[in-house]
Amino acid sequence: MPMIQRKQVIPGDVVAKGNYRYGSYIEKRGDEYVALRVGVAEVGSDGIKLNPFTGPYLPRADDEVIGKVIDINGFGWVIDINSCFDGFLPASFVFGRDFSPATHDLSSKFGVGDILGTRIEAFERSRDPQLSIRGEGYGKISSGEIVKISPTKVPRVIGKRGSMINLISEKTGCDIRVGQNGVIVVDGSPEGITKAVKAIRLVEEETHAPDLMSKVEAALGGSVVGGN
């Protein structure tokens, strides 16, 4: 079996020397690969990856994000996606090609304060991210409790192929939607929601504990709270 080297690093640390493929948060200087963030670097046969421990959410195309409508202008909705950039959902993506500001009323669809499940359609450095609600399950989220976590911890909350989120969801009978921007919506019975939020907070606090799965399972206990 090939081995992976796991290195805890801080900015400026040399992760590896030689010739590797490398991902985000790593800079190449000569033949050295240098970490740009605090986190754990994984040096394997297929390259170097750095999983950061803290940091802001930066939009990436195709990310599913959950946001809140903060403004409506003539052409679309401005959405707070928990990032330094505001998302923009163009009205033509919702009403179709024949959208015209004169005939369509934007506020009849989504009003200020509404929570939307959206996908990032496009993002590049020079312009704010463009959102869309095309596709299954996107659009207004009308019920549930919002939990915000650090965006760097989203992968752990989801788990390998969704294992963690499925576990929490099954044990509490809740519907859980996780946005890549660290916004989570939990919906279900009041007791279920309380339990699920506790479990999510546990994952956030002990992100890097070994065998986190069984810890969460123990915290949730055996009792399955049915949904309503």
Binding site: P2, M3, I4, Q8, V38, C84, S126
Partner: protein, 251 residues
């Protein structure tokens, strides 16, 4: 070593607070002390007590200051009214404005501002109790706060000052030595990159003394960098940074 009004350094080469010429004051560093900031750090360096907080990246206001290709790094160095013996007016003084500028310029080369276009990153350095060398202490804490905020950085920045008492080069001046001594030289370095990001000098140095003070500041800076490392790894890894080997799991 003669000529100074107060004997800042005695015949045996011992300074007022009992240090030798090349010794540092005690330093304590802590990362992640403020919940509401995106990143924060606290430093006690001699009698200095300084908090640094980082907010951002966030939207730039006023809008006309937006930089299309990179982040705007804003710094504020501020001394609390109670940080000195005589109450200090809380309004930013000439000196604080200047120190804010040099702290910003000491940190910018380490921060990868190009990764955060059209945003602002704010660094607040608040001096709660002041002693000599507060700008280098501020820089040391601010770079930890930036790393805590998860902003891409090429390296940490660490500062240390050196100076002259009479013709003797000494490291890490305290308040009295700064005021009564013959020269002060704050230096900030990026230890892994081997670059200097701040160098200020006052006083009159011979070539040899300048060289000696500069090299001493770098040597002491590297010593403080180890403490910086320790503070950061304690916060995130609960101890020293470790390397482990695990078997690769096929996806």
């Amino acid at each position: 070593m003669a000529g100074t009004k107060k004997e800042l350094i005695d015949k045996n080469g011992v300074r007022l607070d009992g240090r030798k010429w090349n010794e540092l004051r005690p330093i304590k560093l802590q990362v992640g002390i403020m919940k509401n900031a995106d990143g924060s750090a606290y430093i006690e360096w001699g009698k200095n007590k300084i908090m640094a907080a980082v907010y951002g990246p966030k939207e730039v206001h006023p809008k006309h200051q937006v930089l299309p290709d990179r982040a705007l790094l804003r710094c504020r160095y501020h001394m609390a009214p109670f940080s000195v013996d005589e109450r200090k007016n809380p309004a930013p003084s000439r000196r604080e404005i200047e120190i804010s500028k040099v702290i910003r310029e000491a940190l910018v080369p380490a921060v990868i501002v190009e990764d955060y276009p059209r945003t602002a990153i704010e660094v607040w350095v608040e001096v709660l109790q002041s002693d000599g060398g507060s700008r280098v202490a501020g820089i040391t804490a601010a770079s930890l706060a930036l790393a805590d905020a998860g902003i891409n950085m090429r390296d940490l920045v660490v500062g240390c000052s050196c100076g002259l008492i009479g013709e003797q080069v000494v490291s890490d001046l305290d308040d009295t030595e700064d005021k009564e001594g013959n020269g002060d030289m704050p230096v900030a370095i990026m230890p892994n990159l081997g670059l200097v990001s701040l160098l200020q000098v006052d006083g009159v140095y011979t070539r040899e003394n300048f060289q000696k003070a500069f090299e001493l500041a770098i040597e002491k800076g590297k010593q403080i960098y180890q403490m910086q490392r320790e503070a950061l790894t304690t916060r995130f890894f609960g101890g020293e940074a470790k390397t482990t080997e695990v078997e690769e799991v096929a996806e």
